[in-house]
């Protein structure tokens, strides 16, 4: 299943990448970054984290979940802001998402090692976002097969420089240390089954929704469905794909049967279909407001001031992501 290790190519790889050094900076983040820098101006990276391990819970036999914080990345949280999971089979272990830094990924790996010494054969990424893939480097020593949606590689590679720049700035030098872009070595298109010994994981690529490279995973032994960022709970959803596609997919998912689902952001385990409802309500509110505003001849700026604000008190991080969601939704819906 591994792709051939080397394919020689006459194609030339460009030596120049346009550099856009910085990302949009909020004053809070600028202050955070400045403080982090001031606190440790001359310290080299010291891997004191090596003894630490991420806190995990066994939500079903052999299924472990670490719950990320409802925060933006910062030097304090080291990119530990999404849920990360692992499933232990008779023969091997599969990791599902790796948190937002090599440091946090390493703590996840330590947690796995407190539970089992079986080899970590698969590192699965549910989609391309840094808070789910930037810990991939922590598993290099296990020489795993990295697994993702066929379109994950394109999505992540084309955003790599920007993601690195943003995260370097927001995480600070210490937490940024060791981060590498590691793309899938097994690209999934449709359905793929991974055997862990005595249990298998069924991977299914999904149409454009949260991103254009979302993939869901089912652990057949416990009927646990890992939804990645197709499901946000408590943490406001973030739209980087298609709002219409996302709502359509949620409609399909709500008819699925599963003993439990694990969101990309939210509690460690939830139940269908209730788990999806707040997110469906949030996205539907944006769609309905934006459609009405477009019909009234209003502009994108008008929409960013009013659309979906009825949802403000229902979510954490609303102020950080909502305007961007409305912007993306408007740019999609104005073509209807």
């Amino acid at each position: 299943m591994r792709s051939p290790a080397a394919i020689t190519s006459p194609r030339r790889i460009p030596e120049f990448f346009p550099v856009c050094e910085l990302s949009p900076i909020s004053r809070r983040n600028a202050v955070k970054a400045a403080l982090a820098f001031a606190a440790s101006p001359f310290l080299r990276y010291v891997p004191t984290y090596a003894a630490d391990h991420a806190e995990v819970s066994e939500i079903a036999p052999g299924v472990f979940v670490h719950q990320g914080r409802y925060e933006m990345q910062s030097p304090e949280n080291r990119g530990d802001m999404a849920n990360a999971c692992f499933v232990v089979g008779n023969e091997s272990v599969a990791v599902i998402d790796t948190l937002g830094s090599a440091v946090a990924g390493s703590e996840l790996r330590n947690a796995i090692r407190t539970v089992t010494s079986k080899p970590i054969r698969y590192v699965i990424n549910t989609h391309m976002h840094p808070d789910h893939v930037f810990g991939n480097a922590a598993f290099k020593e296990d020489n795993p097969i990295y697994v993702g949606h066929l379109k994950l590689a394109r999505g992540l590679a084309s955003r790599a420089e920007r993601y690195l720049a943003i995260n370097k700035q927001m995480l600070g030098d210490n937490a940024f240390q060791g981060i590498e872009i590691i793309l899938p070595t097994l690209a999934v298109n449709g359905t793929e089954t991974l055997d862990l010994g005595g249990r298998s994981l069924v991977l299914e690529t999904q149409p454009t929704a949260h991103t254009d490279n979302d993939m869901t995973i089912t652990d057949t032994a416990t009927d646990t469905l890992f939804l990645g960022d197709l499901l946000f709970s408590v943490h406001v959803p973030t739209l980087d794909g298609s709002i219409k596609g996302w709502l359509a997919l949620l409609d399909d998912l709500s008819r699925k049967q599963a003993a439990r689902v694990v969101p990309g952001h939210g509690p460690k385990a939830m139940e269908l279909p209730g788990a999806l409802e707040p997110e469906q309500r949030y996205l539907a509110a944006i769609v309905s407001d934006v459609r009405r505003l477009i019909k009234e001849g209003k502009t994108l700026e008008d929409a960013t001031r009013v659309a979906g604000f009825s949802e403000r008190d229902a979510w954490k991080l609303f102020d950080q992501y909502h305007v961007r969601n409305v912007t993306a939704a408007f740019a999609e819906l104005e073509w209807e």
Partner: protein, 273 residues
Amino acid sequence: MPALRSLVYLRRVAALATAAFVLLAPAAKAEEDVWPELRQQTFGDRAIKAEDGVVVLEIPGTAEDASLVPLTVRVPPSVTQNLKSLTLIVDKNPDPLVAALSFGPAAGSGGERSFSTRIRIDSFSHVRAVLETEDGTLHMATKFVAAAGGCGAMQAKDPDAESVDLGKMIVKTFPPALDSNPIWSGLVMIKHPNSNGMQLNVNTANIIPARFVKEVTVKRDGEIVFQMQSTFSISTNPNFRFTFGRGADNSLDVAIKDTDGAVFTAQSAPSGS
């Protein structure tokens, strides 16, 4: 096995991006004021009245998405002269000229006039709107925007879906709320990548060649509202919102040319829809 080969490319691209970032990121651009030279190149020795209230620039101080920053220029109703031209500039963009409009007889007067679009901003920069009124005076409004990475960043969220519709256009007109207001507004949208030669095609690991909208002509009932020269500082799927003077039919004809020489045309649906 093209899929596998492209995966290998992608991994190289990712490794190179990491390397390029590590090598280049610490060398921040020197903070220099490029405006005096830009001003000389664009307007020569002509006097420019800054912030005199004739032109107002609205743009967020911090952009949520640097590849899609909404910008609006307003000329308040107290300004009664006809308008001659409007130049939009982002000091620190690779090509600082965003767009240069020259207004025609159908541009209208007798109410608030405005022009809106969405732009890319490559690094922290001053953004300027320079308006020329009929008497030949230049008026300027300036804002500073904290936004970066808009030019190299790939904006398409679903590139496969986007590439299908290139050239699709929507043209709409909106009558004023009050019949006594002689100013209508119009909207022109075109599906176009407006690629700036700075985005990476990760399937081939080559830079995507520049292809962008360079000329837009909007006519109302056959008379020119404006003619615009534009650059890749306009966002993907260019979007223009503008005012025009009331005419007999108020129907808009739009012609758009891109740098590949392709011409796209569209008309507004009749009677203000």
